[in-house]
Every structure is written in C-alpha cells, then in structure tokens.
C-alpha cells in the first residue's frame, strides 16, 4: 500500500519537476505556433528542428562546446590521476587520515564559488598572472569542486571491495604495490570510476558560476549570452544539453545495475 503510494508520488514529482518543464522548454524552442493560439487543434502543428540548425551553425556554440568538452576530459583526467592513487593509499596505509580527507573534500563546497574565484584570482594575479589567461585552467576549479562526490564514490568502492585485506592478500602472493594498483584495484573500482566520470560530465557541462566569474566562454556561459540574441535557438540548445546529461547519468546507473551494483553502494 505504502509502496504503491510512494511510487505514484515519485512519478507525480518526476512529471511536475522534470517532464513538464522539459516539455514546456521543447514547445517554446521547437513549435512555431504563438502561445495565444495554442489549443487541442494546434498542439501537433508547427513543430520543427530549424532552431537546432540556428544553434549548431553558430561558431560560438561549437567553440564553447569544444571548450566545455575539453574541460570535462581534463577534469576527469586530473581527478583520476590525483584522487585514485591518493584515496587508495589512504585506504590501505593511512585509514586514520580518512576523516581529514572527508573534511578537506567538502571545503570547496563550504566556500561560495564567488569567494573561491575572487580569492584564487586575486592570489594568482599577484603570484602567477598567466594562470588565469587560459580557459583550460578552469580544470583545477572543477576538479576541486567535484571532490566531495568523486572522493566519496572512490572511498565507498574501496571499502566495499575490502582494499586493505586485498592488499595484504596480494602481498602474501608476492605482489608489489604498483602491480596491485593496476591489476587488482583499478579493475575492481571501475564502477565508481564510471559514476565519477558521469558526474563530472554532467556537472562540468552545466557549470556556469566559475566560468562566468572568470570570464571564460564555456558552453553554459555562451548559451546564456546566445539566448539573449537567439532566444528559441538558445532554449533548443539547452534542451539538448539537458537530455544529453540525463542520458549520461541514466546510462551510468543502468550500467551499474547491470553489474549488480546499487547506485548508493558507490558511496553517493
């Protein structure tokens, strides 16, 4: 009884907060019938994909999309290179540091982005003025910003597989730490790497505040400017980004379920 009620409630909320706004966005972007003429006869008239063409022909859209994709790839690379060995090391060799690490990773969310950007920008302008000239340096902000999620996903998975016990078992058969990392750890934390990467994709592709404050033309920033001149095409573009992001996350969850892993088991 309660289960049915909860399921219905879930679907109602999903429709209210996700499906309806998306439909409204799609109508505004893709249907040419003026709002005051909308009725049951015109509901399926005037739909077209011309606004997509307007959006995708704009060189700024392409350029900003490429920049956002580059930032996404770099953020994933930086996060994995930095965090996977560190989290593994802490889990195996220094578990007492875990509370410190947990605290440190949420710091980026305790400091508002405005304060973070202003503080970092001010410091670097004095110490290393060239740092903020490249848009790709947003990678550091994004990697830092994603830490609470990526760290928890990795930490949860390492605990789940019993990394510490596996390390001792590997040592007892003559395995070196490097071999252990590549042959045992990486294959067994694939699902959390996958979910971390998906979260980074979803977040970086939609991140506005850091990029806007640092005057970098990433896709969300460009989209915002683009919408002021090409309103409907801008919304069409936003629709594509939203659907793509939802699909990426949906695929990640489906892939985990297929491997028999609960989404919550990854620590998120």
């Amino acid at each position: 009884m309660l289960g049915t009620f909860a399921r219905r409630g879930f679907w109602i909320l999903l429709i209210m907060y996700f499906v309806l706004p998306m439909l409204a966005m799609a109508r505004f972007a893709l249907q040419t019938v003026p709002t005051f003429m909308l009725n049951s006869h015109t509901l399926f008239k005037g739909w077209g994909f011309s606004e997509f063409m307007v959006a995708f022909k704009d060189p700024g859209v392409i350029k900003s999309t490429v920049l956002s994709l580059e930032l996404t790839a770099l953020t994933i690379a930086l996060t994995f290179l930095m965090l996977v060995p560190l989290t593994t090391l802490i889990e195996i060799k220094a578990p007492r540091l875990k509370p410190v690490m947990t605290g440190a990773t949420v710091l980026s969310w305790l400091v508002p982005p405005v304060a973070l950007v202003v503080g970092v920008a001010g410091t670097f302008r004095e110490v290393f003025p060239g740092f903020l000239s490249s848009a790709l340096n947003l990678t550091y902000f994004y990697a830092l910003w994603m830490l609470p999620f990526t760290y928890r996903a990795l930490d949860g998975q390492l605990r789940l597989i019993g990394a510490r016990n596996l390390y001792e078992a590997a040592q007892s058969v003559g395995c070196t730490p490097i071999t252990f990392f590549f042959k045992i750890i990486l294959p067994n934390i694939k699902s959390s790497l996958y979910i971390s990467a998906s979260l980074i994709v979803a977040s970086v592709l939609g991140e506005f505040t850091f990029a806007s404050l640092l005057l970098k033309q990433t896709m969300p920033v460009y989209m915002w400017h683009f919408q002021t001149s090409e309103t409907r095409a801008g919304f069409a573009l936003a629709l594509v980004v939203m659907i793509a992001t939802a699909l990426i996350l949906g695929l990640a969850v489906a892939r985990l379920r297929k491997r028999g892993i609960n989404f919550s088991a990854t620590g998120i």
Binding site: N165, E168, Q171, S172, V173, P187
Partner: protein, 338 residues
C-alpha cells in the same frame, strides 16, 4: 623444511602494548596454533611473521635467518585470511594463476599446477567461477589453493574458519589439517576457538595480554593447565574452593594433592573428572543430553558443579536427586588465594 623462531618480539601502538617479549618456536612441518581471546595479540604475532607490520623490538627467525627487515611480498609465505580476500575480478583459476604469474612460472607449468591445486582442494568444477558465485567454504578453499600455489615454506592461517558455519568449519578444518600433513608445511594457525585449536594442532600456544602463558600439546594443555586462565580458556572447568587439611587439600570432602604452601585456594577440576554418586547433600539441578555423554549440573555445598557423565551412569540421576561428589583427578590445579 622450515622452522620459525620468535625471539623476544614486542609491539607497541603508542602506549598500548600488543606483544610483550613474545617468544615461540615452531618446528619444521609442525602446525602450531596461537590461541587466545580477542585483543591478546595473537593476530599481531601472525602479522609480524607475515611482514605486514614491523615489531617494535625482537626478531623473527626463519631457519635461523632474521626476516624482520624483509617486506611481506618478498617473504614468500602463503597466507589465508578470515575474510577470504580473493581478488573479485578474477575467477578461481585466475586467483591461483595470479600468484604463479608473479613468481614467473611459465604458462604450461601454471596450467599443471592450477589443475593440481584445484583437485587438491576439491574445487575443479568451480574453476571458472568468480568469488561472488562461490559459498564461504568454497572461497576459503580457493584462498587455500592460492596460498599453496607457490609452494611456500610457511603457511599462515588467520582465523580462516571463523566466518563459516559449524558444519563447513569442521569439514574444512579437517581438510586443512590433512593437506598440511600431506605437504609437511610448517604452519601457524591463529584462532580464538579452543576446540578448533585442540582439534587441528600439534602444539597450542595460549596467549594472554601479549605473552604466551603456556604452550604444549593439546592434551598437555588440557590435562595440566599452568594457571587459572589456561584452565578456564581451554575447555570447561569447575572452580571449587580448596582447603589445606594437614598434608592434603580437601575439595568438597575429597582429599587431593596440592601445593606445599598456603591454606586456602581455588581448584580447577574438569567436568569429566567429577563423579556424582546418589545420596548426599548436593542436589541435581539439570541434565543435558549431549550425544556421547550427559552434562549434569548439581549444587553441592552452595557450589554449582558441572559433571560430564557417561550415558549409562547418568540414567539413574534425575532432577532433584540428592548426590555427593567424587573427584577423580587426584592432582588438580590449585591456585592459592592471596
């Protein structure tokens, strides 16, 4: 064949002492169990031998050579863990093969060795299964096969049966002992289960608060416990008041041998060393049928006594019957009261 010597090994964690001048010898081909309650330091002793932790002081000698500076991955000892610790991304065969690959065994020799180990551990039909597809007992068999893959000189068993249910535990315990004897491998077995230790070992070392309080054959420990802790921890025992009466000691009216000094003490008497005879001041409270014998609880002179009696003798004893106590052990452990 390999022998092990712990020489005055100590381990401190801050102010806490986990091991205190721990010394133990394991002869070549011997299976020695380190037995003790939680926190007594038994796992610390094993992990020092495995190389996972370094001792604060002392040495661990293997065939006379100090192995304490050698890292765990270079010691070449086989180890089986309580939590199985199989590599989840590898099948049964791959788990065993991983150990062989690390030792650079060539592929044809690997195939032969894997087949041999799978047959030895009765896991041949599960060769292609992943750990999550195996039961606890099967996983532990794979772990054993993996530990034996490289033909290690020493096998370390860290409570390998604790996570298994009773029936599988008994079966696997016998299999481990059978394998150990057949291979003649020097083995150290850590457990908190005295029954397990008694059943599997050539020798048992009982630990308390970081030191070995007594080591010896299971029979020796059981029959001649050195102190109250060993008497209570190894097997069931009755704690009974003992009073010096001239040259002898008296326990519930029974004259026994005891220490020369002292006048009062506590005697530790095994249940099978007690006979209950009809008629007397004591009263039978309960009788539990335990298969090959009956465990009878009686109250005599305000003391609760547990006696294990053969079924034929227990048949005449019913609840509420008056009984007296006859102690068969003429030389029980008596600890003087301070």
């Amino acid at each position: 064949m390999t022998k092990i010597d712990y020489v005055n090994v100590s381990k401190k964690y801050g102010q806490e002492i986990a091991l205190r001048d721990f010394s133990l010898n394991v002869a070549s081909g011997e299976l020695v169990s380190i037995l003790g309650p939680s926190g007594c330091g038994k796992t610390t002793a094993l992990r020092i031998l495995a190389g996972f932790i370094a001792p604060t002081s002392g040495q661990v000698l293997v065939d006379g050579k100090d192995v304490t500076p050698i890292p765990a991955e270079k010691r070449g000892f086989g180890m089986v863990f309580q939590s199985y610790s199989l590599f989840p991304n590898m099948t049964t065969s791959q788990n065993i093969e991983f150990a062989l690959k690390l030792r650079k065994v060539d592929s044809s020799a690997r195939v032969v060795k894997i087949r041999e180990l799978l047959e030895l551990t009765n896991m041949a039909e599960h060769a292609d299964k992943f750990p999550h597809q195996l039961s606890g007992g099967q996983q532990q068999r794979v772990a054993l096969a993996r530990a034996l893959a490289t033909e290690p000189p020493i096998l370390l068993l860290d409570e390998p049966l604790s996570a298994l249910d009773a029936k599988v535990r008994d079966q696997l315990r016998d299999e481990i002992r059978g394998l150990q004897k057949r291979l003649g491998i020097t083995t150290v077995f850590v457990t908190h289960d005295q029954q397990e230790a008694m059943a599997i070992s050539d020798r048992v070392a009982v630990m308390q608060s970081g030191v070995v309080v007594q080591s010896g054959s299971p029979q020796d420990l059981y029959r001649n416990p050195k102190n109250a802790f060993v008497a209570s921890f190894v097997g069931t025992t009755n704690r009974l008041p003992a009073i010096k009466n001239g040259l002898h000691w008296t326990i519930l009216g029974n004259a026994v041998e005891g220490p020369v000094d002292g006048t009062r003490g506590i005697a530790y008497v095994r249940p099978e060393d007690i006979e209950l005879v009809s008629g007397g001041q004591g009263v039978i409270e309960q009788a539990s049928f335990l298969g090959s014998f009956v465990r009878v609880t009686a109250k005599v002179d305000g003391q609760r006594i547990v006696a294990d009696l053969p079924i034929s003798r227990a048949e005449s004893l019913s609840q509420g019957l008056g009984v007296s106590v006859v102690i068969a052990d003429r030389n029980p452990l008596i600890e003087l009261e301070s």
